[in-house]
C-alpha cells in the first residue's frame, strides 16, 4: 500500500493525476492537441510569419501561397498569423470565463446544497430562471446591454454558465453532506463555511474539474459564436469567430478563409471533449 519511491505529498497527487491521463489513449490525444495550441499561443510572436494586423493590398483573398501559407483574408492579412495570434485570445478568455463561472456556480451550489430549505429554494429558482432563457438570446441581451469587449464576453459567459455549475455542485453536495465525516465535523462544531469549503468541496473536485474541461470547450464555441455575430472582440483583434464571420462574405472566392478558423475552433473543442471524457472514464473506473 505504501507508495515508496514516488514523490510524496502534493507531488504524488500530481503524479497520480498525470498517470490517469496517460492510461487513457483518448485523454492523451486530447491533451496533445490542447498542449499544441497552448504552445502556439505562448510562442505566437516567434511562430507567426507576419504581423497579424499588417494588410497587403496585393494579396486580398489570396489562396495559399509560399508567402501566405494558408492564404490571406479580405484585407490582405495573413490567415496563418491571425490564427496563431487568435489562439492567444481564445485560450485566455475561455478558461478565464470558465474559471469565473465555476467560482460563482460552486459557491451557489455549495450554499444551496448544504443549507437546503428556503435558501436552496430561492437560489435554485433564480438559477432556473436564467437557464430557462435560450443561451444565444441571453448572450445577445447581455452584450447588447453592456457592449462588446473582452471583459464583457467573460462576464456574459460567467452569467450563462454559472447556473449549470451550481446545479452540478449542488447535487454533489447533497450526496457528500450525508457522509459520516460531515457529521463528525458538525459534532466538532465547525462553522458551515469550513464544512462547505474544506470538508465537502475537496471531495467534489473530480466531477467539477471534468465538467470545467467540457465547459472550456463550450466557452470556445460561445466566444466563436459571439465573434461571428459581431458581439465578440472589437476588430481588428484576431479572433477565430470574427475571422469566420468576415471570411463568410467571400466564401465563394476564398472558401479556405472560412475553413481554417473553423478547423482551429473545432480541433480545440474536440480535444477538450476527448480529454474530459478520457479523464472521466479512467478516474471512475477503479473506485
Amino acid at each position: 500500500m505504501q507508495t515508496t519511491g514516488k514523490p510524496s505529498g502534493p507531488g504524488r497527487q500530481v503524479w497520480e493525476n498525470l498517470s490517469i491521463v496517460f492510461r487513457s489513449r483518448v485523454a492523451t490525444a486530447g491533451l496533445v492537441i490542447i498542449l499544441f495550441w497552448i504552445l502556439v499561443a505562448i510562442f505566437a510572436p516567434i511562430l507567426a510569419p507576419h504581423d497579424p494586423l499588417a494588410q497587403d493590398s496585393s494579396a486580398i483573398n489570396q489562396a495559399p501561397s509560399r508567402q501566405y501559407l494558408l492564404g490571406a483574408d479580405n484585407l490582405g492579412r495573413d490567415i496563418l498569423s491571425r490564427l496563431i495570434y487568435g489562439s492567444r485570445t481564445i485560450l485566455l478568455l475561455a478558461p478565464l470565463s470558465v474559471l469565473c463561472s465555476v467560482a460563482v456556480g460552486t459557491l451557489l451550489g455549495l450554499i444551496g446544497g448544504y443549507f437546503g430549505g428556503l435558501i436552496d429554494e430561492v437560489v435554485m429558482r433564480i438559477l432556473d430562471a436564467i437557464m430557462a432563457f435560450p443561451t444565444i438570446l441571453l448572450y445577445l441581451i447581455i452584450i447588447a446591454a453592456i457592449g462588446p469587449s473582452a471583459l464583457n464576453v467573460v462576464l456574459a459567459i460567467t452569467f450563462v454558465g454559472a447556473p449549470g455549475v451550481a446545479r452540478l455542485v449542488r447535487s454533489l453536495t447533497l450526496d457528500i453532506r450525508t457522509r459520516d465525516y460531515i457529521r463528525a465535523a458538525e459534532t466538532r462544531g465547525e462553522n458551515p463555511f469550513y464544512i462547505m469549503f474544506l470538508e465537502i468541496l475537496p471531495n467534489a473536485r473530480g466531477p467539477i474539474i471534468i465538467d470545467s474541461m467540457l465547459r472550456v470547450g463550450y466557452a470556445i464555441f460561445s466566444i466563436g459564436t459571439l465573434g461571428f455575430l459581431g458581439l465578440g472582440l472589437p476588430p481588428p483583434t484576431p479572433d477565430w469567430g470574427g475571422m469566420i464571420s468576415s471570411a463568410r462574405k467571400f466564401i465563394w472566392t476564398n472558401p479556405l478563409g472560412v475553413l481554417w478558423p473553423a478547423l482551429a475552433i473545432s480541433s480545440l473543442v474536440v480535444a477538450l471533449n476527448l480529454f474530459a471524457d478520457g479523464l472521466r472514464e479512467e478516474s471512475t473506473r477503479y473506485q
Binding site: Q2, D180, R183, A184, E186, T187, R188, E199
Partner: protein, 720 residues
C-alpha cells in the same frame, strides 16, 4: 398478521398441501452428491495480470444437506458460488479443477451446454432482495414468469403455483402480495419472495449468498427457520455462504472455512465449532463474543495482521504471518488438506497437535480489566435524559393545509449514564436508537424533554452549544468508508479536533497525534496516509482516534463494529475498552449484535418503536425476568455455538410505522406474551404500561406482573 408463533421446537413436518413440481429428468440416485467441487481454482484477469481468487477448494454437498462456507470478506466465498453457476463475469475463469453437479462436470462447456446440464436445477439467492427483484414489475408477474417462460406453463396455473409457493415460505396474505410491487413489502418479505422464486424451479441445489445479512435479527431468525424447514421439506441441497459464525452454526450440517481464497478446514458443524484444528478457525472462535460473555470475565483474542491480497500471497502456508503456532517449516512448505480425523479436514502442518490439545493458543497479555473497571467506575451521573422526545415532521400528503403529522422517532425516553460506564442501546432498525444518540450529541433538535450533561443543559443543537461543551461529546460512526474525509491525511484528521478544541498547544499537535496513533496501535507511519490506503479496521481506528483526541467525557458509538469482519471487530472492541480504561471515558454503544452488547456494556437499554422497554445492568437484561420484546430478541440472536438451544419465539409482522404508533403498549401488536394476562391483554391495547422495578437498577415497561415474568425460563441454554 398480528398473531405470533411460539413453538419450542423449530422443525415442522412436511406440509400436506405440498404438490411436487413435475418429474425430474435428471433424477439421480441418492448416493451421488448433488454438488461436488474438486480442487477448484479461479482467476480473474486484471491489468496487473491474473489474480488467483480461489485455489484448491474441494467439498461435496449431499441431498437434503446444508453446506456452509464461512470466511471473512474477500476470502473468495462468493467466487466459489459464482463459479458453480458460471457467473464469473468477463474477466473470471476456472483455471483448474472440476465442478460436478449431480455427477456431471460443468467445467469446460459452452453456455448452451451448461444450460442443458444444469437445467434450471440450480437457484441462487443473493444478499440484497431489492437487487434481485425488478422494482417496476408486480411480484406476481415476476414469480409467474419463472414458470411461464422457462416451463411453458399457462398463466393461470402458474399464478396458482406461485400463490402456493408463497404460502410455503409463510408469506402472509399471498394472493394480495402477488398484486404488489417489491417496494410495498418489507425487506424480510422481499427475501421470502426471492426464496420462493428460487424454489419455483424445484432446484436440486439452492445457493444462498449472505441471504440474511441485510436483515434485522428478528427477521433473520425467521428466514433462517424457513431455510431449515425448506431443506427438510423439499430435500434440497443448500449451499449457504455467510461471514456470520452464529448464523452458520444455526443453519448448517457441514462447514467449510475459507481463508484468502482457499479452504483451510472442513468438517461437520460440531467439529468445526467445538474441535477446530486449523489455527485460523481456532482464532475465529476465540475472537467472537458468545452470548453471556462479558468484558470483566473474558477477553477477545483478535487475529493479528490482515488477510493477504491474492496478488501478494506469502510463500509457504498462507496463514503463517498471522499464526500463533507458526514454525520455520510453515514459511517454506505450503500444507496440503489432510484428514485429521474421519471426515475432518484441515490445511495445517500441525492440525493433529492442535486438535489433541498439545498446542494451545497463548493466553497471556490479557489486561486485568476487572480491576481497572472497579477503579474507574463511579456513581456520578454524567448524562441524564428525562422524557426526551424527538419528532420529525412528516411531509403532508395534501398540497395545502392538512394536519401536520409527526414521526415520533424518540418518544418519552429517560436514561441516565454514570461516569466511566458504558450504556448499550439495542433494538431493531427504526426503533430510534440512532435518533436518540443524535439528539444527545446535538445533530437533531429535541422536541421536548430534559437533557442534562454534567449539570449543563444540552437540549439544543450543536450549533448553539459552547465549544467547551462540544468538546466533551464526540461520536464514532458505523461505516468505515464514510467516517473519514477521503481528501485529507490521517494525521490532519486526528489533528483537527486537537487544534479546534486547543487540547494541546499548536506546536505539540503533531506529537500528540503520533501519541494517539500509537495508542490506536497504528504507529507514526500512518500519519501521512490517505484513508483509501487503509483497511476497514484501520479506518475505524482512525475514526475512534479522531473522536477521543480532544479527551471527551462522553463518546457515542453508533454501531462501530457492525461493518467489520469478526477478527477486526475483536481488535476494535479491545481498543475501545482500553481507551475507556485509560481515559475513564463514558460511552454509549449502539449495536444490533446482542452478544457484542452483552460483552461490552455495563448497562443496557432495549428500545422498541421510539421507547425504552427495558433498562438495567447487562446481566439482568440477559436473564429472566425479561420484557417480552427482549425475550424475542434474545431468542433470535444467532449464537456461534452449535450446542446452543434457544427458545423459539418469532415476532410476526414488521415494526409498525412510527407515524401512527399503536395505542397503549406499542409492542402489543406483536407481543407473544400478551395472553399471559388474565383478560387476554385487553389492557395492553388501551393503557401504556407502567415501569415495573425488578431491582433498583433494572426496570421493565410492561403490564405483565413481574412475578409472572420471573417464572420464565432462560432463553438460551448450552447443552453440554
Amino acid at each position: 398478521m398480528h398473531e405470533s408463533h411460539i413453538q419450542d421446537n423449530a422443525q415442522m413436518g412436511p406440509s400436506d398441501g405440498w404438490i411436487p413440481l413435475g418429474k425430474d429428468p435428471l433424477q439421480q440416485p441418492r448416493d451421488v452428491p448433488v454438488l461436488s467441487v474438486e480442487r477448484l481454482a479461479v482467476s480473474y484477469e486484471t491489468r496487473y495480470g491474473d489474480v488467483p481468487a480461489v485455489r484448491d477448494v474441494s467439498f461435496t454437498v449431499q441431498r437434503g444437506e446444508a453446506y456452509s462456507i464461512v470466511g471473512e470478506s474477500g476470502c473468495g466465498k462468493s467466487t466459489v458460488a459464482f463459479s458453480i453457476v458460471s457467473f464469473l463475469g468477463r474477466n473470471g475463469k476456472i483455471v483448474d479443477g472440476h465442478v460436478l453437479f449431480q455427477g456431471r462436470d460443468l467445467v469446460g462447456h459452452s453456455e448452451e451446454e451448461l444450460r442443458k446440464l444444469r437445467g434450471d436445477r440450480i437457484s441462487m439467492v443473493y444478499q440484497d432482495p431489492m437487487q434481485a427483484l425488478n422494482p417496476s414489475l408486480r411480484i406476481g408477474e415476476q414469480l409467474a414468469e419463472v414458470l411461464t417462460v422457462h416451463r411453458g406453463i399457462g398463466q393461470s396455473e402458474a399464478e396458482d403455483r406461485c400463490i402456493h409457493m408463497l404460502e410455503q415460505v409463510h408469506m402472509p396474505d399471498p394472493a394480495n402480495v402477488m398484486r404488489r410491487y417489491p417496494h410495498q413489502i418489507s425487506g424480510g418479505q422481499q427475501q421470502r419472495v426471492v426464496i420462493a422464486m428460487a424454489l419455483l424451479n424445484d432446484p436440486a441445489l439452492l445457493i444462498m449468498d449472505e441471504p440474511t445479512t441485510a436483515l434485522d435479527v428478528t427477521v433473520e431468525a425467521a428466514v433462517l427457520d424457513l431455510v431449515a424447514e425448506l431443506q427438510h421439506k423439499f430435500d434440497t441441497a443448500i449451499m449457504y455462504i455467510s461471514h456470520n459464525l452464529g448464523v452458520v452454526a444455526r443453519v448448517s450440517d457441514q462447514v467449510g472455512v475459507m481463508y484468502a481464497g482457499t479452504m483451510v478446514e472442513r468438517a461437520s458443524v460440531n467439529d468445526v465449532y467445538l474441535r477446530p484444528s486449523h489455527p485460523y478457525t481456532l482464532g475465529l472462535m476465540r475472537c467472537v463474543p458468545r452470548l453471556g460473555m462479558d468484558k470483566a470475565a473474558s477477553y477477545l483474542y483478535p487475529i493479528r495482521g490482515r488477510v493477504p491480497s491474492p496478488r501478494n500471497l506469502p510463500p509457504g502456508c498462507i496463514f503463517e504471518p498471522r499464526c500463533d503456532f507458526a514454525r520455520p517449516v510453515c514459511r517454506q512448505k505450503s500444507p496440503e488438506m489432510c484428514e485429521v480425523e474421519p471426515e475432518h479436514w484441515a490445511r495445517c502442518h500441525f492440525a493433529a497437535e492442535i486438535l489433541s490439545g498439545k498446542l494451545e493458543p497463548p493466553q497471556d497479555a490479557v489486561p486485568d480489566l476487572q480491576a481497572l473497571a472497579e477503579r474507574r467506575a463511579s456513581d456520578e451521573t454524567v448524562l441524564r435524559v428525562a422524557r426526551a422526545k424527538t419528532y420529525y415532521e412528516a411531509p403532508s400528503k395534501q398540497l395545502i393545509g392538512g394536519e401536520k403529522q409527526y414521526v415520533k422517532a424518540v418518544d418519552d425516553v429517560s436514561v441516565e449514564m454514570k461516569r466511566g460506564h458504558t450504556l448499550g442501546i439495542v433494538g431493531e432498525s427504526g426503533c430510534g436508537k440512532s435518533t436518540l444518540v443524535k439528539t444527545i450529541i446535538g445533530l437533531e433538535s429535541p422536541t421536548g424533554g430534559e437533557f442534562e450533561f454534567m449539570g449543563m443543559d444540552i437540549s439544543m443543537p450543536v450549533s448553539k452549544r459552547s465549544l467547551d461543551l462540544i468538546k466533551e461529546l464526540q461520536m464514532v460512526f458505523q461505516n468505515p468508508d464514510a467516517t473519514l474525509n477521503p481528501s485529507f491525511s490521517v494525521g490532519s484528521q486526528i489533528g483537527r479536533p486537537l487544534r479546534r478544541f486547543k487540547a494541546v498547544p499548536a506546536h505539540q499537535v503533531r506529537d500528540e497525534v503520533v501519541r494517539i496513533l500509537d495508542l490506536m496501535r497504528l504507529g507514526e507511519n500512518y500519519y501521512n496516509r490517505l484513508p483509501r490506503q487503509l483497511s476497514g479496521g484501520e479506518k475505524q481506528r482512525v475514526g475512534i482516534a479522531r473522536a477521543i483526541a480532544g479527551r471527551p467525557e462522553l463518546v457515542l458509538c453508533d454501531e462501530p463494529v457492525s461493518a467489520l469482519d469478526v477478527s477486526v471487530q475483536a481488535a476494535v472492541l479491545n481498543l475501545l475498552l482500553e481507551v475507556q480504561q485509560e481515559m475513564g471515558t463514558t460511552m454509549a454503544f449502539i449495536a444490533h449484535d446482542l452478544s457484542v452488547v452483552r460483552f461490552f456494556c455495563d448497562t443496557i437499554a432495549v428500545m422498541y418503536l421510539g421507547q425504552i422497554v427495558e433498562f438495567g445492568p447487562a446481566e439482568a437484561i440477559y436473564a429472566p425476568p425479561y420484557h417480552p420484546y427482549t425475550e424475542a430478541l434474545l431468542s433470535a440472536v444467532p449464537i456461534p455455538d452449535p450446542r446452543a438451544a434457544q427458545k423459539h419465539i418469532r415476532l410476526s409482522g414488521s415494526v409498525p410505522s412510527a407515524l401512527h404508533p399503536p395505542s397503549g403498549c406499542r409492542f402489543h401488536t406483536r407481543c407473544p406474551r400478551r395472553l399471559l394476562l388474565p383478560d387476554g391483554g385487553q389492557i395492553c391495547t388501551v393503557e401504556p404500561p407502567p415501569w415495573q422495578r425488578n431491582t433498583d437498577e433494572h426496570r421493565i415497561f410492561c403490564h405483565i406482573p413481574l412475578d409472572t415474568l420471573r417464572q420464565m425460563d432462560a432463553v438460551v441454554t448450552i447443552q453440554e
